[in-house]
């Protein structure tokens, strides 16, 4: 087992995609065949795997903190509602209609109609006028 063998530069050129598993099967075979005899490339593989894992962990922690720790009223992640406000006016979505009608059904003492509304939202008719 040598410290470094010929072809390291070429092998390391596709290391990131060996790590993220999008390299071709042939490249993966070549890489591991090479790494079996090359200590330096095995170290590079281990270091890159660790970096990739750390990146995923750090990004996940950052996103979780952004979602969980936003100051009150910060307005971050307005989500679909925020985006919909920026779209040009258009027809109401079935889901919008359901959202408006559910409180009305509850107030009118007709909770059994909420199920009908949900079915309508899941499988909207071509035109709302045809709803039975």
């Amino acid at each position: 087992m040598g410290e470094r063998v010929d072809g390291c530069a070429e092998i390391l050129g596709f290391l990131p995609w060996v790590v993220n598993r999008t390299a071709t099967a042939a490249e993966i075979l070549i890489f591991y065949g090479h790494a079996a005899a090359c200590t330096a490339c095995r170290r590079e593989l281990a270091a890159t795997l660790a970096m990739a894992q750390r990146l995923r962990t750090e990004v996940g922690a950052l996103a979780a903190a952004a979602m969980a720790g936003a100051p009150a009223g910060a307005g971050v992640r307005p989500g679909w509602t925020g985006l919909a406000r920026r779209l040009p006016p258009g027809e109401l979505l079935p889901s919008d209609i359901v959202r408006r009608l559910v409180p009305w059904c509850e107030a009118a003492g007709l909770p059994e109609r909420i199920g009908d509304l949900l079915r309508l939202a899941m499988d909207p008719p071509t035109t709302l006028g045809s709803a039975s």
Partner: protein
């Protein structure tokens, strides 16, 4: 997954707002993480997500189907991140910006100060890391997203990997904010 995205894009191209809502729910979290890691600013990241989705709404017809929908989508998103960065002062580490904005429950600073090291990389190196290691894009997809040849992607990743490793090994970046690479 891609076939559902294509179907949604077809409907978005025809003015389908419900399809856009579903497309948003499928992709907004991933785009938000990408933008947040690049900008370090949750408000800015959400702006980027919304701008990206507006571009999808306006440009769904321009998707020709030559790539996966996510490849096309991240190409738009990274351009929106670039627009955002050009319109503001020097980016700082995400944790710092979140603390400035009054964020609570932010993660404890890592011993090696990962984000300081990450931000010390050039922007195209940061993009490469995120696309390869957080999102798992292939070389060809990364080349399409970044608008550069595959050889350039390989070269960037080679240098980015080496530089980030050196920075983390040194426990870097505790001082200066200069870019390396």
């Amino acid at each position: 997954m891609d076939s559902e995205d294509r179907s949604l894009l077809d409907r978005i191209a025809g003015g389908g707002r419900e399809a856009l809502r579903r497309f948003y729910e499928r992709h907004a979290p991933g785009l938000f993480r990408f933008a947040l890691a690049r900008l370090g600013d949750p408000y800015g990241a959400e702006d980027v997500v919304q701008e990206t989705m507006l571009a999808v709404w306006q440009g769904a017809r321009s998707f020709k189907g030559a790539s996966r929908v996510t490849t096309w989508l991240f190409g738009i998103c990274r351009n929106k991140v670039g627009d955002h960065l050009r319109g503001r002062e020097t980016p700082t580490a995400p944790e710092s910006r979140m603390a400035e904005a009054g964020w609570q429950n932010r993660p404890e600073p890592a011993p090696m100060d990962f984000w300081t090291a990450f931000r010390a990389l050039k922007e195209d190196h940061q993009e490469g890391f995120l696309l390869a290691f957080h999102y798992g894009f292939s070389r060809e997809e990364m080349a399409a997203i970044l608008g550069v040849p595959v050889g350039t992607v390989k070269s960037r990743m080679y240098h980015a990997r080496r530089l980030l490793r050196e920075l983390l090994d040194k426990g870097c970046g505790q001082g200066g904010r200069g870019r390396v690479g």
